[in-house]
């Protein structure tokens, strides 16, 4: 076996072996490796297949920009995770990883056939192909696309891990722990600023930490050694918090940032101990310094995607940081000086390397250094083809023409097992643009660099377009000093030695002797979009970069175009003959790297997902077998099954009991607003449609509240407790919104009114007792009270006491029965309820839930706002004209009731429906038609409430129907899937039109 681990470094502990599995095969790496470096040390380059053509792909980079080496980890466990970048995951004992997007295996993948039919599946293939024949869609195309879509497998079981959120404030947040981030952190924290430094790797130092080249020295030390000392000092600083393994996800306005910290992802599964896996930091920083560095660009040439083709700086990192040589017969293909550092590193370790440079010359120190070491350099040359199926084995090169637009001369074949490419550097401006910053295009090295706009945020280092060591150190120092208003720092007199790059040449799409249509020059490696696809999109008329991106899917893979966007832009600019700077960029959206759902939701899972509100009587309901339904955040008893009763039987029994003897309902969840102040009556006049001034103290009145557009918003009974004191009730779901709306009017439209609103929903519990025997039950509970109709008439209220506890009794009814509501301080709610049940036993008092309540009120034709109304119903539509005051000058929504639209007679209006077959119960939501023969069939309305009434022994329904008011007695049809149901329009009140029961 060939030994690729050629070098000992301090970052990988070669005494600690770590074993892991990849695609079912066991390998060894060392403590400090990533999955990628461990695989490379075993000579494994081929790690995945591309998305569209299923071409073999290898590890390309060493960081978050990796497009190819994405794996499924810990498959078949609860913890499995797709799309994990092998270059980012730290190796741990027992890690199991596997390739994605290949079947049956990465070495032999049937999908690879797509590579051979690729001329037939160009960009936009999906849009063009799956159009016909039409009947192929459901059975063939859709299942096929679904099978082949997506990368990796989602976990199927609930996530067993714990996630956390943390809010922090700081004076200065520094993003990126490379050389400029370290300088900035030191200046900030030494100037008494509370500073946080976040770094996505497990150690600080960026790419400087493995730099040991005589051309790059700081204060006469190798830059790698210098930065080691700086880091050691940094760790001693008091007001600096260093967060490693923490990646910035989003940079929002006003310096609000989200960062994800990996806490246990790097530990073996058996050492995680149920600790928090990831923590999402929510940071509000006074000032932000972005030091996110730059990403190396690949080059675009034919077959530039084979395993073994890597980024040049990553090859250097694998060698100098991890001690792994990616090949023994290396070729470097570059357009700039930085790749020469890789060449020098390789050569110094005795590893073979040659360089192909598209430039005509370069006289910098680092190039001379390479030449002196005997590295062969092919100037003014380009790679035109590569060979090797599962790993690169050779390349063909040719000379470039004078202007670089073509190739000249003969082909020259060179054998290699690793091709390290470098197309220059792209500043990571994602954070800057996410925060709202703009970009400028710099012609000389074809980069977009940030322009500062915000006084509370700067960019330093190579993310700001400073690529040379001297620039980085001096400019960072200078900018941070200005930004933090510091007069002097320890970096003021730093002596820096570096090689300066003087010669530049950039060609976005390298020329070839093979015709363009036959070249596979990849731009987006994961999504397989090529230069040819971009040009096709332009030919087909796409002009905007955002459109080209979506049509070709360039930049839409899991790496979000980190390696591909610049080339796509460059090729568009070259093809269209425009300046690249005028094209703009695609939008950089958060997150910068994918976030787990776990980290987004944090602890808000399971019972913490939403607030659960329970009434004080909840325990009793549970003990008495109640089934609950959610009403907003409330848990309300839905029905109380006896023995093995279902919903229908229970509701029939409960409804009958409430009308025949007595029923009791927990009405505590209704919204309650306490209204006080000298203008309370005037206020109610303005918010309800009916008149309130003349309501006597001790009386109750039903009110309907509209929106300013005239549509019904809420309803409820309000009681006048005193001269300037009312208690308003609202619907359960509307309580919070009604309070907000009323507050809004009071604060903004009518600040002159002396009115105070307080929500008292939670303060009182309410037991509502109804039925012909309710008066007897109340008399037993309150023996001193006179419940005669004269002393205590319908729609009135009285104070009373149970044992020494004050209660309010309202004689109001939502069921059409004689009915009383007892309100008591919530802490006594359960004992009140138990007392009612105890006393009511001899009358067979029956607890009923929301379903029975709905049925009872429907028998009486009472509406439920939100069920029989939907925000498009006026009181007139509801046939409730009686509640709209004609005398009042104004109330909310009044003017809208006679707009041209609201006075239309063919609006949908509330009606009753009776089925021809009294046992046929309509479905709520069912459509209603009048003429079934005239096509297209006109839907004239729908059913809003529907029940089988045990008291009337027939099916009843409420519905909204166009011009329904005029239709009483008319026959209509409710067409269902298998049948037509004949109905007749009726009055909305089905039971006791004379109100005998309420006044019984």
């Amino acid at each position: 076996m060939i030994k690729y681990r050629v070098n000992k470094t301090k970052h990988v502990d070669q005494t600690k072996t770590v074993s892991f599995d990849f695609d079912g095969k066991s390998y060894h790496g060392f403590d400090g490796d990533t999955l990628a470096s461990a695989l490379l040390s075993n000579g494994v380059h081929l790690v995945g297949r591309s998305f569209k053509y299923h071409r073999p792909r290898g590890i390309m980079s060493s960081g978050s920009e990796e497009p190819n080496a994405i794996c499924q980890i810990n498959e078949n466990t609860d913890l499995t995770e797709p799309n994990v970048r092998a270059t980012e995951i730290e190796l741990y004992e027992g890690l199991k990883a596997s390739s994605q997007n290949c079947w049956p295996s990465v070495n032999f993948d049937i999908g690879g056939i797509n590579n051979f039919i690729s001329p037939f599946i160009p960009a936009g293939f999906y849009y063009k192909t799956f159009m016909w024949p039409k009947n192929f869609w459901k059975k063939i195309y859709e299942p096929l696309i679904r099978w082949s879509a997506g990368l990796g497998k989602s976990p199927t079981k609930p996530d067993p891990e714990l996630y956390d959120h943390k809010h922090v404030h700081c004076d200065v947040l520094i993003i990126g722990g490379g050389i400029s981030g370290i300088i900035a952190s030191k200046i900030a924290s030494k100037n008494n600023l509370k500073t946080i430094l976040i770094e996505d790797k497990n150690i600080l130092g960026g790419s400087t930490i493995f730099q040991k080249n005589e051309n790059y020295k700081i204060n006469n030390k190798y830059s790698g050694e210098w930065i080691d000392e700086e880091i050691a000092e940094l760790k001693k600083l008091d007001n600096l918090t260093i967060k490693t393994r923490t990646s910035l996800a989003a940079y929002h306005s006003y310096n609000y940032l989200l960062a994800k910290e990996n806490i246990s992802d790097h530990l073996p599964l058996d050492k995680r101990n149920g600790d928090i896996r990831q923590r999402l930091w929510k940071i509000r920083a006074d000032k932000v310094i972005v030091a996110t560095g730059a990403i190396e660009r690949p080059l675009v040439f034919n077959n530039n995607d084979r395993p073994g083709i890597m980024l040049a700086n990553s090859v250097k990192k694998y060698l100098d940081f991890y001690g792994v040589s990616c090949g023994f017969n290396n070729v470097i293909f570059t357009n700039n000086d930085s790749a020469y550092e890789t060449a020098v590193s390789l050569k110094e370790k005795g590893i073979s390397v040659e360089i192909i440079d598209i430039r005509k010359k370069s006289n910098s120190k680092i190039v001379k250094n390479a030449e002196k070491l005997g590295v062969k350099i092919y100037w003014n040359s380009t790679v035109v083809n590569t060979f090797g199926h599962r790993k690169i084995n050779s390349i063909e090169i040719m000379n470039l023409s004078e202007d670089g637009s073509n190739i000249v001369g003969d082909k020259n074949k060179i054998n290699c097992d690793c091709l390290a490419v470098s197309g220059g550097w792209t500043p990571m401006v994602h954070m800057h643009t996410q925060s709202g910053g703009k970009l400028d295009f710099r012609e000389n090295d074809q980069t977009f660099i940030p322009t500062e706009i915000d006084e509370n945020h700067i960019n330093v280092g190579s993310c700001n377009g400073d690529f040379e060591l001297e620039e980085i150190i001096n400019n960072t120092n200078k900018k941070v000093k200005n930004f933090l208003k510091v007069s002097e720092t320890e970096f003021d007199n730093t002596s820096v030695l570096n090689s300066k790059e003087l010669d530049k040449r950039n060609i976005w799409l390298l020329p070839n002797y093979i015709s363009e249509g036959k070249c596979k020059s990849f731009i987006d490696f994961q999504n397989d979009s090529t230069a040819k696809d971009i040009k096709l999109a332009l030919r087909e008329g796409f002009k905007s970069i955002e459109h080209v991106k979506r049509y070709t899917t360039t930049g839409m893979a899991t790496d979000q175009g980190k390696l591909s966007n610049m080339h796509a832009l460059g090729i568009i600019a070259d093809t269209a003959g425009v300046k690249m700077g005028t094209l703009g960029t695609t939008t950089f959206r958060p997150p910068f790297t994918p976030l787990t759902f776990g980290s987004i939701v944090g602890r808000s899972v399971g019972k913490f997902f939403d607030i659960i509100r329970k009434t004080s009587i909840h325990e009793w309901h549970s003990q008495n077998n109640a089934k609950f339904e959610n009403v907003g955040q409330w848990k309300r008893p839905w029905y109380y099954p006896v023995n093995d009763e279902g919903l229908h039987d229970a509701v029939q029994r409960e409804s009958k009991a409430a009308r025949d003897s007595a029923g009791i309902l927990d009405a505590s969840t209704l919204g309650k607003i306490d209204i006080q102040g000298t203008d309370s009556s005037e206020f109610l006049n303005r918010v309800y449609t009916n008149a309130w001034s003349k309501l006597g103290i001790g009386k109750c009145r039903y009110g309907l509240m509209l929106n300013e557009d005239g549509m019904v918003y809420d309803d409820g009974v309000t009681t006048r407790l005193g001269e300037n004191h009312y208690l308003m009730t609202t619907t359960t779901g509307g309580a919070a919104n009604v309070l907000s709306k009323l507050e809004d009017y009071l604060q903004t439209e009518w600040p002159e009114l002396d009115v105070y609103l307080t929500s008292v929903t939670d303060h009182y519990s309410t037991a509502s007792i109804c039925g012909p025997n309710s008066k007897k039950i109340l008399t037993k509970i309150f023996p001193d009270k006179d419940f005669s109709d004269e002393a205590f008439p319908h729609m009135s209220y009285q104070n009373a006491k149970i044992d020494e506890i004050n209660c309010r009794i309202m004689r109001i009814s939502f069921t059409g029965e004689l009915s009383y509501e007892i309100n008591i301080e919530s802490k006594y709610g359960k004992s009140l309820w138990e007392k009612c049940i105890e006393v009511g036993k001899e009358f067979k008092i029956t607890p009923y839930g929301t379903e029975t309540m709905h049925l009872l009120r429907a028998e009486k034709g009472f509406i439920i706002v939100g069920q029989d109304t939907d925000g498009t119903m006026t009181p007139i539509d509801l046939q409730m004209d009686w509640i709209v005051s004609k005398k009042k000058y104004d109330f909310i929504g009044k003017r809208s009731l006679y707009r041209s639209d609201t006075i239309r007679e063919d609006r949908k209006q509330l009606v009753g429906l009776l089925t021809d077959d009294p046992n046929e119960v309509l479905e709520e939501g069912a459509q209603i038609v009048s003429d079934i023969n005239k096509k297209p069939i006109e839907m004239i309305g729908h059913v809003t409430s529907s029940y089988f009434s045990p008291n009337l022994n027939k099916s009843i329904a409420l519905a909204v129907v166009k011009s329904g008011k005029k239709m009483n007695g008319q026959k209509l049809i409710v067409p269902m899937e298998n049948k037509k149901i004949n109905v007749i329009v009726s009055d909305t009140v089905f039971l006791d039109k004379e109100n005998k029961r309420i006044n019984a």
């Binding site: 709202g436 604060q747 903004t748 003017r895 707009r899």
Partner: protein, 91 residues
């Protein structure tokens, strides 16, 4: 995520607030005297500009007070906050 300077409470996170749309639209004192068009102007017509916009905000999870804000919708810069009934410090 804005940092909003509530005129009653001071700087708070945007998550405590809710936006109530365009500011300085006064409810007509005599709605019944308005034509359908005039009423519709009050009821439905709202500006949605790119640039400086006057907005109503409510410190919903705080003091529950309504106030006004001047915000540039193109970059979310907040130029002023002021109480209901007060004149905007910015024209």
């Amino acid at each position: 995520m804005f940092l909003i300077n509530c005129p009653y409470c001071g700087e708070r996170d945007q998550s405590e607030f809710s936006c109530g749309g365009e500011a300085h639209i006064v409810r007509p004192k005599q709605p019944t005297e308005l034509s359908d068009d005039q009423w519709a102007e009050y009821l439905f017509m709202r500006k949605n500009i790119k640039g400086i916009q006057f907005e109503r905000w409510n410190h919903a999870h705080g003091c529950r007070k309504w106030f006004n804000m001047v915000r540039d919708t193109s970059n979310d810069k907040i130029y002023a906050v002021y109480k209901m009934g007060e004149k905007s410090p910015i024209e």
